[in-house]
Assembly symmetry: C2
Homo-oligomer: 343 residues x 2
DNA sequence: AACACATAGGTTAGCGTTAACAGAAAAGGG
DNA sequence: CCCTTTTCTGTTAACGCTAACCTATGTGTT
């Protein structure tokens, strides 16, 4: 046995191995790999064959080192367990893949701006080329404002004004449509169960609701505040169930609407007979609530894709979108809202 | 102005810059960064100061190139929009972070084994040190069996036997508990609405259900088949709503149970008065269904953490867990299931 | 035939880090 | 006080790739 064969360590093949096998220089291998011109079809074939034979994989670290590009994008998210963030993440990942990028995720442990900066830094240390922040909290937006990052950052899902480019739903418009719809049904006014404090979505939806009421000259009741969970919707529902004033409730999301529906049911209030309920999001389950929930649909996947599109533009140095990208939601009519009852 | 100042290009500082500023060699900087011994406190301080002053960040690609470690783990997931996968991903990410790893995700576009291999390869090309596959489909497990990967792979969530280490819920036990519970309530038999075809979870839950029935000497009705969605639960519900034989239904997940509940309600069948329903998963909303759903709880976050733990062990070369790690679910009693009615 | 010029390829030099070795300074032992 | 050992630090060489430059060959033009 020659000295070569002593260690049976199976070293991963490198470019030089491929080159030797194909009888070319490593540079030619590189050229084939990167589709560079000036490679004769014959040699290209030989190189490709050698690559296949050795099952050679380029070393991404080496490539990243010299090109200064990691082919990786970062996503920072708050609670990727929620339907919205999860769908956005999914949309982003799919879009990134088609653009031939990897995506690395970092979830926030808390909402303060230090935490956001930390997550972005973490991603940056890993060498991501850009990051999209799924952080709909007001505090996060504040964090973005003072965020210092050498890599492009775009935000998604929130609506605040900020220095970073942003794509979001027009939550205000969605809330207006929902409220308007209820008003048009003949309700004297519409109550509101807001989302978690500190979220842009909560603020904007509440805003849209209030404005619509004011524009219609309707009384603006005090809004309840939930935390997006069904439980909080349920608790709010128990509080209002016996209030005869309440004939229509606009919930800031479908999960809370579910809890509300439950509380109303327990209290023996008919929906939409006595009280109309409308949600926001159109989660896949909303159509199967009892009664099926009228709600405002958001296409989170689309939002994720658009965010990535925007980030890619930033990466290409195409001047950053002056105005935030806004996607209009559409309201989905089902059975949980109906005309005001006459008393 | 000296020739130095001509280009105002702000090059990211590198280790050599820090070294020069601190008046040491780059190696000493490296030592400080990596906590190597034999660095005098004084010089360490100077180096640290220089690092702060320049806001120096080590280049991860360079480090990865020489250490052959990317500090990155990969996660392949199928539909990270679903509650289960999303929660697991979240659990994995959090656990990875505490272990000081980054996580890169790749979602599958389809379920075939080529797709799984492709995703793992993609991650591998990126240089991940290990991957956890959230792919509960039978086909995915098959894919894992023939998966060739130089990096450790663990699977999570499914239950099949396979070459790769795996952590999963004991779906069979959960299904047995659910079925047993219904039987103990006095139901002569229990019907079953299975999950999507091809999923390990579907198979195992159906298995547990059937065995329990057989062990109890109960008749084993033909099981329905859904696709995990509420819609499929609804459709199944419409089919069985008027079957007087049906007094208890065990649904393979909560979403389908929701659809079923809806269909039953529309058909005027009382739950649990006439028909008892039990779900699986205990999604956060289950407690607010009408009626609140009795179900089998799975802690997906925990599952994700355990999977990561297992992967970390693999990375440390600690012999791979002979037996799959099994986590027992616990059943949560609520109001959708009750005693059989007497006729 | 001489030249330009495109094409096909090889050679060399980094990218920014850690590893391996080597040398200098400080500390201990006779 | 010299020699050995321990601390501290610097030098050199990878890691595996791409960029930049260079050297051959053709191919077409004057």
């Amino acid at each position: 046995m020659g000295a070569e064969a002593v260690g049976t360590e199976v070293r991963q093949p490198v470019m030089a191995d491929v080159a030797k096998l194909a009888g070319v220089s490593h540079q030619t291998v590189s050229r084939v790999l990167n589709g560079a011109p000036h490679v004769r079809p014959g040699t290209r074939e030989r190189v490709l064959a050698a690559i296949r034979e050795l099952d050679y994989r380029p070393n991404s670290a080496a490539r990243a080192l010299v090109t200064r590009r990691s082919q990786t994008l970062g996503v920072v998210t708050f609670d990727s367990t929620l339907y919205g963030p999860a769908s956005m993440l999914d949309g982003i990942e799919r879009a990134a893949r088609t653009a031939d990028y990897f995506v690395s995720v970092a979830s926030l442990r808390s909402l303060d701006s230090r935490s956001v900066q930390e997550a972005v830094d973490r991603l940056r240390d890993q060498g991501v080329e850009g990051v999209v922040v799924i952080a709909p909290q007001v505090s996060a937006v504040g964090a973005l404002a003072k965020l210092s990052s050498p890599v492009p950052v775009v935000a998604v899902g929130s609506g605040g004004r900020s220095r970073v480019p942003m794509v979001s739903f027009d939550n205000r418009a969605g809330a207006e449509a929902a409220t308007r719809y209820l008003l048009d049904l003949g309700h004297r006014t519409v109550h509101h169960l807001a989302g978690a404090t500190g979220w842009m979505e909560s603020r904007d939806r509440q805003d849209g609701w209030r404005r619509t009421l004011e524009a219609a000259g309707a009384r603006v009741p005090r809004a309840g505040t939930g935390d997006w969970s069904s439980r909080s919707g349920y608790e709010a529902g128990r509080r209002i169930a016996h209030d005869p004033e309440v004939t229509a409730v606009f919930c800031a999301n479908d999960h809370m609407a579910l809890g509300l529906l439950r509380a109303l049911y327990e209290a023996g209030r008919a929906v939409p007979g006595e009280i109309s309920v409308i949600g926001f999001d159109d989660i896949p389950e909303a159509a199967y609530f009892t009664p099926p929930l009228t709600t405002v649909r958001q296409d989170f996947g689309e939002l994720g894709r658009r965010a990535l599109e925007l980030l890619l533009k930033e990466l290409d140095g195409v001047g950053h979108g002056r105005d935030p990208v806004r996607i209009s939601p559409e309201t989905v009519l089902r059975r949980s809202a109906g005309p005001a009852h006459r008393d």
